[in-house]
């Protein structure tokens, strides 16, 4: 099963997220990533859902039946601009700090907070770049990490 990216335009109303996610989870499918946020149109939100579905056509039709769902577009990965944000808190000490900072800056991560024994970096990029950065930081001891969910736009839309 391959990854599918659905871009779902919805009315900004309470419960929409629950309706959408339960329509997918009803079939026992996991959602790999989901992000929701406002759009340029008032009262409309956009959900970007990344999931592995073998019946994506049927799920799209069922999502379309939801009264608060306005439009669903399945994004073509080859024509899609995709990005994700990450915050990563890593432990540092005298021996490691130079190396941590060097690796972070080579990865284009921005340091957003530094303490005595930790540093927090922010990185925006493709999921692969984020994965790579996580691997790089792992040996230094990741204290906490959070990823924001993938967002995507089709470049020809």
């Amino acid at each position: 099963m391959s990854e599918r990216i659905l871009s779902v335009l919805v009315e900004d109303k309470p419960g929409v997220l629950a309706r959408v996610s339960s329509t997918i989870s009803r079939r026992g499918f996991n959602i790999n990533s989901l992000s929701v946020g406002p759009t340029n149109i008032e009262g409309r939100s956009k959900m970007t859902i990344v999931t592995e579905l073998d019946a994506v056509e049927q799920v799209k039709k069922q999502l379309n039946k939801l009264v608060n769902v306005i439009k669903i577009v399945e994004l073509d990965p080859s024509m899609t601009i995709e990005t994700e944000v990450l915050l990563l808190k890593v432990s540092i000490n005298k021996d490691s700090q130079t190396s941590v900072i060097e690796k972070a800056s080579l990865s284009n991560a921005t340091s957003v907070d530094v303490g005595q024994d930790f540093a927090i970096f922010e990185l925006t990029g493709s999921s692969k770049e984020l994965d790579k950065f996580e691997t790089l930081m792992k040996p230094f001891g990741i204290i906490e990490m959070v990823r924001g969910g993938r967002i995507a736009l089709q470049s020809n839309l």
């Binding site: 919805v10 009315e11 309470p14 419960g15 629950a18 309706r19 339960s22 009803r26 056509e57 049927q58 039709k61 069922q62 379309n64 039946k65 939801l66 009264v67 608060n68 769902v69 306005i70």
Partner: protein, 589 residues
């Protein structure tokens, strides 16, 4: 005090006039006024703490309230009302258990596309989420059992939401909509504002089919030598039975009617093959297997029709028309998919076919021959135990008028669909998709409320009847003279049949006993007339007596053979090419 006395009193008329003139109304008054505004004449329900404010103005309203004995019963009553009329059925319940008891009827209405509105009370806004007394997360619980639902957060929303809810419930593919209203919102004051235009950017049902698709469908039909019209509940929702009749008879296309589509095309017409599928008749099931084209309208290729889809109609191309795009291609890919309302689709097909003459003569005569070779059969011995099919056929002979027949779920349901002659839409009410035992009695009450002058028959099984039998009290006290036949085989008959066939006759937990309860005494204790029939010689006599009673509900305890089985049968997941016709065929299973 009777309902008419209650509504007609001078005091109430004056009080009501005053209420109407008030600037501000309570949320509860807005609900009742909103329902009146939607031309709701009857609601079914059970009161309770959180919904109490709504029952106060309801008392003064011309809307008739039927007090059910359980919210599940109230929900099925609303469904029966809606299935019989094609109009919105309304049910009211309180928070917590009141609302959770409604989940079964809501899920049932969703499966069978029945337009229904449920209004539930909720604990006060500030208490929501705090595990307050009688609190349940109704919107969350009912999300998967409704077409849409609402939580009201301000009383001023009520008129508009009611209008929206009715629109969503009754248009497109109909279904149940629930509105949950916290108690403080029912008490909150707001002005009545005439509901405006609906703003539903995500809800735009496609009614008119794409003309290109209609043309493609017509081209396939023109080439077909063995077409079958595969017809379901969508025809009835769309009120397209006359158009269907024209399409079938003008172009000589045989018709199979699914469980939900019975009555959409008249039994007895030479083109009508009646019900296909798991317990369909041999000819209907086999006609689909032999067809070169399925014209499927308002059907969803349910597993009870298709059995294993891989073996279903392997020689046929498929035209699939439905108002719900999610049904098309769900089970079977269609060569011609058509999204649209059944009535418009059929009208379009008739026009596109023009004066085409289909060469279906030999196909029809083949099917006719098959019908006479493989009829539905039963063996009623003179002195032997009663068989349901025999009793049904006798009952229909004695019934002079067109009856509304309401059924439970199981053997008796299949026998009714097989042996009763349905000639009109909306005269066959049953729980097709969800298979809800206990549906018959309350749904019959709902139907009879809608049509007090029609003969309404609840033909039920004993297992089903025991699930909602307290509603017999509702029928008596609310003066709703339905007629109930309990086919009493002392067992969960269909469970027993499966245990016999698939579980080596190990009858685990399927026996109920014939004589407990005593249905005659039970009926009498609930204000109805009770009668019993045991053998062939009783049938005519007892049914004639039953049909004479019109001032109160009548129940007939019809004691039948527990070992009788429904045939034909195609086991779940089997192939429709292998129809089991009788117990002899079972040996080869």
């Amino acid at each position: 005090m009777s309902a008419s006395q209650k509504k007609g009193g001078l005091f109430f008329r004056i009080k009501r006039k005053k209420d109407m003139a008030k600037d501000k109304l309570s949320g509860a008054e807005l609900v009742i006024r909103g329902l009146e505004h939607l031309n709701v004449s009857t609601v079914f329900g059970v009161p309770g703490g959180a919904i109490l404010p709504a029952y106060d103005p309801l008392y003064d309203s011309p809307i008739r309230h039927i007090l059910a004995r359980h919210e599940q019963g109230a929900g099925h009553m609303a469904e029966g009302y809606a299935q019989a009329t094609g109009e919105l059925g309304v049910v009211i319940a309180t928070s917590g258990p009141g609302a959770t008891n409604l989940i079964t009827p809501l899920a049932n209405a969703l499966m069978d596309s029945t337009p229904m509105l449920a209004i539930t009370g909720q604990v006060a806004s500030h208490a929501i989420g705090n595990d307050a007394f009688q609190e349940a997360y109704t919107v969350g619980i009912s999300m998967a059992a409704t077409k849409h639902n609402y939580l009201i957060t301000d009383a001023s929303e009520i008129p508009q939401v009611l209008k929206e809810a009715k629109y969503i419930a009754t248009t497109g593919r109909p279904g149940p909509v629930l509105i949950d209203i916290p108690k403080d919102i029912l008490n909150q004051e707001a002005s009545w504002v005439e509901p405006g235009d609906l703003d539903l950017p995500g809800y735009k049902p496609t009614l008119e089919p794409n003309p290109k698709m209609i043309q493609q469908a017509a081209n396939l039909i023109k080439k077909s030598k063995k077409p079958i019209l595969y017809i379901g509940g969508g025809i009835i929702h769309s009120k397209a039975n006359n158009e269907l009749f024209e399409l079938a008879t003008k172009f000589n296309i045989p018709v199979v009617t699914t469980l939900m589509g019975r009555g959409a095309f008249p039994d007895g017409n030479e083109l009508c093959l009646e019900m296909p599928g798991m317990h369909g008749n041999y000819t209907a099931t086999t006609s689909i297997q032999n067809a070169d084209l399925l014209i499927a309208i308002g059907v969803r290729f349910d597993d009870r029709v298709t059995a294993n889809p891989a073996f279903f109609a392997q020689n046929a191309k498929v035209i699939h028309a439905d108002i719900d795009p999610a049904e098309i291609g769900k089970v079977r890919d269609a060569e011609v998919p058509i999204v649209g309302d059944a009535k418009s689709v059929i009208k379009g097909l008739i026009e596109a076919l023009g004066d085409t003459q289909l060469e279906t003569k030999s196909w029809i005569s083949d099917l006719k021959e098959m019908k006479s070779k493989f009829p539905l059969s039963y063996n009623q011995e003179d002195k032997g135990p009663l068989k349901v099919p025999y009793v049904l056929e006798e009952l229909q002979k004695l019934t002079k008028e067109e009856a509304v027949v309401v059924s439970g779920v199981g053997q008796h349901q299949m026998w009714i669909s097989q042996h009763w002659n349905f000639t009109e839409p909306n005269t066959w009410l049953n729980s097709g998709g969800l298979g809800t035992m206990g549906y018959a009695l309350p749904a019959a009450i709902g139907a009879k409320t809608a049509y007090p002058n029609k003969l309404v028959l609840a033909l039920d099984g004993d297992g089903c009847f025991q699930m909602t039998c307290q509603e017999l009290i509702t029928a008596s006290t609310e003066n709703i003279p339905i007629k109930i036949v309990v086919f009493n085989n002392g067992n969960h008959g269909m469970v027993r049949q499966w245990q016999k066939i698939f579980y080596n006759s190990k009858f685990s937990a399927s026996e109920l006993t014939h004589d407990t309860p005593d249905y005659v005494k039970l009926a009498e204790s609930m204000g109805a007339i009770g009668m019993r029939m045991m053998e062939k010689s009783d049938v005519e006599k007892v049914f004639n007596k039953m049909l004479e009673v019109n001032d109160r509900p009548v129940l007939v305890d019809c004691v039948v053979d527990p070992d009788d089985m429904v045939f034909p049968m195609v086991p779940a997941g089997g192939s429709n090419d292998q129809v089991i016709m009788n117990t002899e065929d079972l040996k080869n299973l």
